[in-house]
Symmetry: C2
Subunit: 416 residues, 2 copies
């Protein structure tokens, strides 16, 4: 069989009839080159928000099962329209819902995980020379209830289908031309990366780069799916994401990212006995709160201060968790600081180039930017700083690591 | 098990969040009386029209399979929202798509016919004391393609489910209070009928009464489903539709209906040999044209004129059929008359009360309304007249048959 390519188009790429026809033309050109094409689409533009608004009118606290029943219609509308657009170009195409494909998930409504993809139906249609259009973001549990995959779900659908089909390439079309060394809105010299590793992309995605959801990158890494992120509004080459590439350790770092949607919580006067941290983070996990950075400082005799960062949207749930905790764990008090930001440098190269941390801290220090927390992994270093210093920090770090000299310069007009 | 009631709500009954909550309250009151409830809903208000408009932007001649994929989302949105509304009233409820219920149809996309309904899933949820909310208008073929049932499809879904469940009652909620002796906008003395037979309802539905689609009445008759048509905007009793009821032959006629969307085609100079009519109506059937009334008059030696009526929307297709016909069948010419109307009187009672036809013709004649074609069945008489005389004819016939004295007087304010 010919090359199989999975192409995923996000909501802004199919926001209206004209854009859907443009997407169809792009698919047609790949199809006519002899490729077998599977397309995954998201809901059109604001459809999902409109549906959520409708639900809120009826019940401000809707059941998650019914929410998935409701929201999954958004992608079903897109796939039908895209099939019609391809038919207009005289290309055979068929649309399939998650259920019709056989995308089996667990029953965690609104954030289900894919368990298995049945490729039989897709392969049957591909063999009949059809473009197969699959609804992103959705699946079905063992009892045939419709589920959705949560944020970034359509990326996950695309990569999982590419893995199941052993596709030659999975292209993620979006509204930016690729992955940049930093957010081009903050750093005017930011460069588009031609290639990057899964591990770097994973760190960058979880540290603020919004171009791909980290879950889809995890699956791509696990099944070695060759990914490309590119723009649906032009024909520029995007960023290719792979396990490894020649010369990948020559670069010290590949990107600077920033998050400004986190808050720092500091619990003061925690008794310094074993199991305390476990209790705290178990209480937070019970409320489904993702904790990002954690720092424990033994500041006084026998008692500790513990700081951690969470997403701002989880603050109310965190207060609940801390309240429930206070009955079984004595601590003095806690405070919540929303004026923080996290700036990170990411790069495979730092494994073999010592001195990255030192250069990062020096750069921030020289610019009078105070570091409040530090967290490191093998390929990233993150610092918590004041939120109003974040943009400056990103710019100075981008310069300090000479990132304006790597990757590809993209004209401002086509960044988005 | 308790009584099972199937309740169907049309698009205007669920047109916005507030109305959906009102529908939920009505369902809740029946549920709390100890009934098992299955609800069938249509798409909200203008959803279907909006989706058709979207399709037309992309492809003015969309594939029927993809059209069904698209349109079926409308009902899926309604069922999810109605489940959420019931949850808000603390009533357990679950929504099911046509596929999830197991409504198996043939593969005639956009006008599929139901082959079988699997009641297992519905019964399981009913036993768990849940209100079961089913998407109307849709089903699934043997290959799991989504199909829709065409005009009046949600009524058909409701009646078919009631038949499959052997439900005690199937209530069709709509925006009118029931079936009237004539259209209340035309006849100010029109009365709401408390009860009517399937056969009468079938004739009235196909002769212009828009309250129920004739296909759903056919199924109700076939499986003896007790139907009630009533308003979703008040609590008045509606019209009950049954096989037979005591005293049903006492009334001579039960209603006067009118159609003003038909056209009359007259083919002149058709050779008077066997098989000619078959050829004509086969040519029309090949274009999927429904022919309503047919009159053949042997006016001249050896040649005939044949007149028939069709829906106005089929005129272009009819011209095509007649063109193809002219090569194999010699006829002089044909003309198309759009200024006709059909007025009918319907009633089981006319089987045992002679003189109905005579009274109808006399009434029209006395009022100088010329009759151009006549068609009769055991329980109806229809006449083609000039379109501008239709309202007057309906009023005079209603009066002549004393229909203002039967049924129930409904205050003008709640007719709709």
């Amino acid at each position: 069989m010919e090359r199989i390519i999975v192409q995923k188009f996000g909501g802004s790429s199919v926001a209206n009839g004209e854009r859907i026809l443009n997407v169809a033309k792009r698919i047609a050109s790949y199809y006519k080159q002899g490729n077998r094409i599977v397309v995954v689409v998201s809901a059109m533009g604001d459809t999902t928000d409109d549906l959520i608004k409708l639900a809120m009118e009826v019940n401000p606290n809707p059941s998650k099962r019914e929410m998935d029943m409701l929201l999954s219609t958004g992608e079903q509308i897109s796939i039908a329209l895209l099939a019609m657009a391809l038919h207009k170009l005289n290309i055979e195409a068929v649309s399939l819902t998650g259920l019709q494909v056989g995308i089996r998930t667990d029953s965690a409504f609104t954030k289900a995980r894919i368990l298995h993809i049945n490729t039989k139906n897709i392969l049957k249609h591909l063999k009949e020379n059809k473009v197969v259009i699959v609804a992103g973001f959705q699946g079905v549990d063992k009892d045939m209830n419709i589920t959705t995959l949560g944020r970034g779900g359509s990326d996950t659908t695309a990569v999982a289908i590419a893995a199941a089909l052993k596709a030659d390439l999975c292209e993620i079309y979006t509204d930016v031309v690729g992955v940049f060394t930093a957010d081009p809105r903050i750093v005017k010299d930011a460069r588009k990366l031609d290639i990057i590793t899964y591990d770097e992309m994973l760190e960058m995605a979880s540290l603020g780069a919004k171009v791909l959801h980290s879950r889809s990158v995890e699956i791509a890494k696990k099944f070695n799916v060759k990914l490309e992120v590119k723009s649906s509004f032009n024909n520029l080459p995007g960023t290719i994401i792979v396990e490894e590439y020649k010369g990948m350790e020559e670069l010290v770092i590949t990107g600077v990212t920033a998050k400004t949607d986190e808050a720092k919580i500091t619990i003061r006067g925690v008794p310094d006995v074993p199991g305390v941290a476990a209790k705290i983070f178990k209480a937070l996990a019970n409320e489904n709160i993702n904790v990002n950075m954690i720092v424990q400082s033994a500041s006084r005799k026998g008692i500790n201060d513990i700081s951690f960062t969470i997403n701002e949207t989880d603050i109310e749930d965190a207060k609940k968790a801390l309240k429930s905790l206070s009955s079984e764990l004595k601590f003095e008090d806690y405070d919540i600081d929303k004026n923080i930001g996290i700036v990170s440098v990411v790069g495979i190269g730092m494994r073999s180039h010592p001195g990255v941390a030192q250069k990062m801290f020096e750069t921030l220090g020289k610019n009078k930017i105070n570091i409040e927390m530090i967290s490191t992994s093998e390929i990233k270093i993150s610092c918590v700083i004041r939120r109003d210093k974040v943009n400056e920090a990103v710019q100075k770090l981008h310069k300090a690591f000479n990132l304006e000299k790597i990757g590809r310069k993209i004209s401002k007009a086509v960044v988005k």
